[in-house]
Symmetry: C2
Subunit: 219 residues, 2 copies
DNA sequence: ATATTTTGTTAGATTATTCTAACAAATTTG
DNA sequence: CAAATTTGTTAGAATAATCTAACAAAATAT
């Protein structure tokens, strides 16, 4: 039912409201690269369909129906990304743009078949959870590397930034999901961390990078 | 550049003008399920982009540029159909609807990767030729089964109708591409033919069916 | 608490794609 | 060939998604 445009608004609202549960018109407009009046009028349209709650000058809140619709689009996006990497040999930095288009395809069997072929994965190539068929998302309470302390060991489980630039940076440092890190030290003046992994005995990672690496710490 | 709507008009024009090299406004409108004024105005839009030639009350003719654009969309459609059947386990009767959506994706690498994974197929699951990257189509001068005569042997190479209904009919008779047929007889009053293939010693095929089966006759 | 800035809204216009109604040209038929 | 039918066109309107300009409310900063 929802047009591609509407689907993109739902996805943006879902992503923006991950923390607060709500999103402002200006954030929404920014996220989608449209003007505020455009975002404003589309929000009214979505509200009429029961997908979000909206009152003048108040933030936008997705309804349960809206959240589910958004999660199901994200499910298609993440399944597609995983399929492109696992079954078609793409790099994790190449798949977002393609998945951005494939996610709007209406063909349940297509995505079910992908899911099956991959053995029902629970996360995408960047470690983000894949919502289930009911639109439920399994939260992965992960910490960021910046929260770890020297002496700890951890494995990279996900990323909080999956931009092609950041992924290219990680590629250049041989960092990927599953990489095991030993935290050697942390500089107090710039929060940068020195870590060891694979062949690398001492690598320095800036605060920005550490914040974006989501880890599971070994007990 | 072209919108999905424009791409669908190009494809329809290409298919309609396979024989004559031209298509009428009413055929175009019919094919796409839109009104004649709608088709008329879109044709004017395509003409402004140099994709077709059009004069009032005359049939529409695709330009070389228009033909190439259409062929490249058809290339994506047919590669997708083949991928769905060969790599994802779909039946040949299930793939048209999905390919109809996937063909509009702008991601050259995605389709090149499919092509590579399949070993550069030249025909789709219904035997229709896949245009090359330059939009050139290799014509497969095939005959229809109705042109064959008793005593001849032939193999089914393609179909001139790939509707889900016809494909379901063929499935129910165990007929598929590659099936080898022996023509036993032909009824002169209704043009139906009796053939043998696989386990079947005598199967009768109506004229309608014979016309839709494209064959290569054994020398 | 007033002034300034940011955020949000309304109004009005634009482009793409579609429609119906009315009319006109072309084709087919008797 | 004239009448009837089919095909095609024009005009005018509707919906979706977008914009800019102008104004209004809310938030922030002096």
């Amino acid at each position: 039912m929802a047009s591609i445009t509407e689907e993109n608004y739902l996805k943006a609202l879902f992503n923006l409201s991950n923390n607060q549960g709500e999103a402002s018109i200006s954030d929404l407009a920014n996220q989608l690269g449209v003007s505020m009046p455009t975002a404003n009028s589309m929000v009214k349209t979505l509200q009429k369909q029961g997908l979000c709650k909206y009152e003048k000058y108040k933030p936008v809140i997705l309804t349960e129906q809206g959240k589910k619709a958004a999660a199901l689009i994200i499910r298609k996006h993440r399944l597609t990304e995983m399929f492109l990497v696992n079954k078609m040999g793409f790099g994790w930095e190449e798949v977002h743009e393609i998945a951005e288009q494939v996610e709007h395809i209406h063909a349940p069997k297509f995505f079910e078949r992908m899911d099956e072929m991959m053995g029902f994965p629970t996360v995408d190539p960047h470690g983000s959870p894949i919502p289930d068929k009911q639109g439920r998302i399994q939260e992965l309470h992960l910490k960021s590397l910046s929260e770890a302390v020297p002496g700890q060991e951890a494995v990279i489980a996900a990323l909080s930034d999956s931009s092609a630039e950041f992924l290219a940076y990680l590629n250049s440092r041989q960092l990927s999901l599953g990489t095991e890190l030993k935290i050697l030290s942390k500089e107090s003046f710039d929060q940068s961390m020195t870590v060891a992994y694979g062949e690398k005995e001492r690598e320095s990672l800036s605060q920005k990078v550490c914040e974006k690496l989501l880890i599971r710490i070994f007990d």
